[in-house]
Amino acid sequence: MAEPLRHAPWEAEVVDATTESPGIVTLRLRATDRAIRAAYRFRPGQFNMLYLFGVGEVPISISSDPDDPETLAHTVRGVGRVTNKLVTLAPGDRVGLRGPFGSSWPLARAEGRDVLVVTGGLGCAPVVSVIDYIMARRQDFGHLTILQGVKHSQDLIWRSRYAAWEREPDTEVGLAANVAGENWPGHQGLVTELFDRYPLDPAATETMMCGPEPMMRAAAEDLTGRGFDPGSIWLSMERNMHCAVARCGHCQLGPHFVCRDGPVFPYGRIGELLAVKGL
């Protein structure tokens, strides 16, 4: 007989809280129970449900390295009831945590291959885990191209990290802003317009994306037009999530439960669904 589902979270402590930009904070959390901490494992791309006492739960992707599963980084943007309070937490504060949930980035599949990371807006936290993962195991992967688009140039967080990544061997970083301010080092326009500027080998590349759906869809369409296989383009999707275990029904996207079948999907599986408004 299968083990019954555990609904409740565990207690976790804020180890540190780093403000990335106004309203965006990275919380590093540790389960306070030693046995839970020791047993916890995750894969990049998966998410946890973070619970704020008396307020509620939200799904947040894990952005730290899977080889250090005792301390879990979550980058949170304050936009709602729960997240507006999460970004104010300080070291020592307690939250609830359950997870990890969902599918992960195809890192085993990407070994020995080139990796193209395409991100848009503020939604780059889920792929930062991929970039960090590759940087820590640089010899296992081929050429790395990181393309980041934002609406306004001031929206770009982690500027120093992009600069550091750019200095790594066999790595290129391209930035694009629809509205570029003074001293913007990157392209003015859409992130997809950067595809022409970098040498991309469709057959040798795994592409990983996150960001607003219209941007991911435009980028995936553009890339498939360049000969990329829809099964080698991976998207991290977002939907309303309450239970995270494919029971509550909120996160459905066509036949998929995004919490269980996603959040990371190959474009070939969801491309047609992305083309439909209001699904």
Binding site: L5, H7, Y51, F53, T83, D93, E238, H250, K277
Partner: protein, 370 residues
């Protein structure tokens, strides 16, 4: 084929046997003008001689055959008995130092016997079982399910809104029951479907059933199937609906749909629920409460400040496409069991079979997707 016949005069013995085994009995009673499965002490509490007249947006009780079960179904299936409309899943407590602890209450189900479950209800229950008990079973659902004793009654009086014959789920109860009855003029054919049912059957003062009684019961079931006029063009509309997300009919039905969620509430298979955090007044504990939700609400698709399904057309499409298409991927069959409740209890009388037929006509005519 049933071997046992329980004379109507001995019907009370079923209630006595169930009470003797510790069950609270629920059977058909009239509440607010509709038949519901309410608590009954015995046979005298059951409604008798009534039938239901159902049509799109309309339900009325009237005098019918001199029987207990000469009606089709009421607004509530078995769903609230296993998937509670509202319940606490866990409780968080915060101590003076800010430390949090979490506890899950032990399920405390009471044994309940339902007398009068329909084939469509059992089909809905089997689908809910698949959803809540697959992989990691939900302990609260499991406990209530394990404590449920089901006396099915084969349906002989389908409503005009029924189409269980088309979905393959009725009118004969074929699974998931402990006992199944066929009501005849002077009593009931009885057959057990589980060991628990066989034990109750042993305690009943039954007579040997005759071939003539069995023939009458079969004929009544056959007649209940052929009396149904509604249906769906196929038991698998997956490809068809996924291929038609922009059909103009979605906008058209949205003009009539109030987005009220009645259909999802009365549906025996709809499982969507929300999790709500309910703190106490002192701020020391907070319950995480699961309650029924509906894909017709704005909150259902809320995502960091936006509503993804922001029109009634999007919400109706989500409901119908999930029910008749997405379920095939998720559960290996359609999520519709043909009970017709969503048709009857829709305040504007929207009939899903009509909506599907309107789109199907274009599909067959080669003009799929408008």
């Amino acid at each position: 084929m049933a071997d046992h016949f329980l004379p109507r005069a001995c019907f009370q013995a079923l209630f006595d046997a169930l009470h003797g085994q510790g069950y609270t009995c629920r059977g058909p009673r009239v509440r607010d003008g509709a038949i519901v499965m309410d608590e009954v002490a015995g046979v005298d509490d059951l409604c008798f001689g009534l039938r239901d007249r159902q049509a799109p947006g309309s339900y009325a009780l009237e005098e019918g055959a001199g029987r207990y079960f000469a009606w089709a179904n009421g607004p509530l299936a078995l769903k609230p008995l296993t998937f509670a409309p509202r319940e606490t899943l866990w409780r968080a407590a915060k101590d003076g130092d800010g430390a949090l602890s979490f506890t899950e209450p032990e399920p405390a189900p009471e044994p309940v016997a339902v007398i009068g479950a329909r084939a469509c209800d059992l089909a809905g229950l089997a689908l809910q079982d698949q959803h809540f008990l697959g992989d990691e079973p939900d302990a609260y659902y499991q406990a209530r399910r394990d404590n449920l004793f089901l006396v099915a009654v084969n349906c002989t009086h389908p409503a005009d809104t029924c189409f269980c014959a088309a979905t393959g789920d009725g009118p004969e109860a074929t699974h998931s029951f402990d006992l199944v009855l066929s009501e005849l003029d002077h009593g009931f054919l009885v057959r057990a479907g589980s060991d628990a049912g066989a034990a109750v059957l042993d305690a009943l003062p039954t007579e040997a059933a005759t071939d003539a009684q069995n023939a009458d019961a079969s004929a009544a079931i056959d007649a209940a199937a052929t009396a149904q006029s509604r249906g769906l063009p196929s038991q698998n509309l997956r490809e068809f609906l996924f291929a038609n997300p922009t059909h103009p009919r979605w906008e058209e039905v949205a003009e009539r749909c109030l987005s009220c969620g009645n259909c999802t509430n009365v549906c025996p298979t709809c499982f969507c629920h929300s999790l709500e955090t309910v703190p106490d007044l002192e701020g020391t504990t907070a319950d995480q409460v699961r309650q029924w939700d509906s894909c017709f609400t704005a909150g259902h698709s809320y995502l960091h400040g936006i509503v993804i399904r922001d029109t009634t057309a999007h919400r109706y499409r989500q409901w119908l496409t999930h029910k008749l298409a997405g379920w095939h991927d998720q559960f290996g069959r359609s999520g519709c069991v043909g009970c017709g409740r969503c048709i009857t209890w829709c305040p504007t009388g929207i009939d899903l079979t009509e909506e599907v037929a309107a789109m199907w006509a274009d599909f067959e005519g080669g003009g799929a997707d408008g």
